[in-house]
Symmetry: C2
Amino acid sequence: MTLGILGGGQLGRMSAMAGLRMGVRVKLLAPSVSGPSLPFADTTVADWTDADVLRQWAADCDAVSVESEWAPADALAAVWDGPIRPGPQTLHLIRHKGRQNQTLAEAGLPLPRFALCATLDDARQSAEAFGYPVLAKRYEGSYDGYGNATCRSPEDLARAWDDLAADDGLLIEAFVDFEGEVSALVARREGGERAVYPIVATEHRQHQLHAAWLPAGLADGVEEEARRVAGEAIAAVGGIGLLAVEMFVTRDGGVLVNEIAPRPHNTGHLTIEACHTSQFENHVRAALDLPLGDPAAQVPAACMVNVVGSREGAVAPDLAAALAVPGAAVHLYGKPDSRPRRKLGHVTVTADSAEAARQRGEAAVSALAL
Amino acid sequence: MTLGILGGGQLGRMSAMAGLRMGVRVKLLAPSVSGPSLPFADTTVADWTDADVLRQWAADCDAVSVESEWAPADALAAVWDGPIRPGPQTLHLIRHKGRQNQTLAEAGLPLPRFALCATLDDARQSAEAFGYPVLAKRYEGSYDGYGNATCRSPEDLARAWDDLAADDGLLIEAFVDFEGEVSALVARREGGERAVYPIVATEHRQHQLHAAWLPAGLADGVEEEARRVAGEAIAAVGGIGLLAVEMFVTRDGGVLVNEIAPRPHNTGHLTIEACHTSQFENHVRAALDLPLGDPAAQVPAACMVNVVGSREGAVAPDLAAALAVPGAAVHLYGKPDSRPRRKLGHVTVTADSAEAARQRGEAAVSALAL
């Protein structure tokens, strides 16, 4: 079987490795030469918006998946009639924060209060109704804190409008004074079979994921509710493949959906070591419409810590120092150049407790000195 | 860092994947096109006994390892002065069953009684001394039962001599009425640092590995003794990298070394899922002289079952059926053609008990229908 992936970054790299293990051929199509995809013989570098390129590349694929919601799935769908998973409709829906929120709300899923605001006046009224502070979010292309603004006053809101509003306006969300942020990976097949992973707790630094661990330390009822909400959210957007649902846990034990990512997710990297079936393997399985694997944890606890660039320049990790940390599974993505905030790799540690795993994960990341 | 591996089979494939995960570049050199090495961009297919080929290929390697004791390490050593791990001397020693046994015996390690027999008369005298049955073993090139014969009489012995003896004769070993067969994976660095894995119990069918599992079910003292013997055996042969020691456990709880393999080993494939650091990762680490990873099990139990060809023809696994078995980690090596006894892949299952893991592993292998 052959799976094509539009993308040449770390998500494609780790998906390719999961496929290879099972004897599945994984082809990557990337718009430019990329370190993560370099080791794979089946990598094509070409203009991936070109109809001929797409048609030719996909011709021998049983299915195609995407590494990001911005990959040219629509262009592929126009010239190839094989299965794209997740499908262009799901990607279209998720790409736009307004459409995404509306779809989830219509499915009865819990979200922060939100409003789709076509004008600055609409935004002001919504902010008054929710009470300041509110979050202003660009509809498209926001990530890791980019494209979002916390507004504490009408003046902040006016500034955010100028910076972020598109032709169809801006999303305003009530600020959630959350207890914690969590994530659920969900694999889902055509027909609806799904596998929901154990909830992962997350910590962000400067709006970028820093660490993720399991167990998340939630009360049983909250863990169960978060998994239910995540599973239904992915069904609501018609997601096929592996998708992630980021959620807030509120101080009263409620769960609110923050956002969906239609692809394997940084919060799920620890599943490689921690779960019977990794998010990448289940992504490959779901994309090829193969039975899903067991998402349950196979260890008592695990923690992943991101390896993020701190400066410009060539990537020169002190691998020996990191590998000296007991139990550290070091993942580096093969990116030749670093820059601040660039994701270069991650370290996962499995242990008897998330705290013990976290401590060693942090030590190994520091030791890499990137 | 760049590691070269002489070989293009499943051991090179899985070592390459372990290296890639850590951001290590792994180059393969294979004498002919091979399915397992096909997915890797850094695969060279060329006459690997050719001095120019070897010199050029190894030029940018920090170290080179081998996939088998028969790889052209000597030819490489003649034209390249970088580190080959394990070294040609170790490979030379292990390749010849007589030299191997003598070295281990001189180091005081427990072995079945054996004799290096230069003539058929010598062999007859040794067999009389040990008592029939005895094993006759070709000094070089025996594996999976090939090159060995069980002799129950002087007539059997004469036949074995005709079939198997080389210019320097034949190895005669006393027959061991063992309780069980076990294996230990040992990673060892220059300078002697070593990591000995938990003992793996093994079951052979028609002289070929069928299943391997841990825990091995040995009494504490026997497990400890087997790990001690394995670690010292690898030190005795000067092994650097990941090597395997196959042993017999006798009915009185003793441990006897059967043989050493100077490379990652089929009995260690389960370490990918079961241990903090897989045999392949520790092979890459040791070969590059990086700190060794924790070999301890991270799950209560695991079992690996081999996927072996039963007929001639194209490999067409029923992947969907195998993946429907809960918890089955399916590994297929990308070999396009099957034949009886060819190793095509394996399945590992982690579980609370080796028995539960074994049952599901067998089910998944049967489901593949290869």
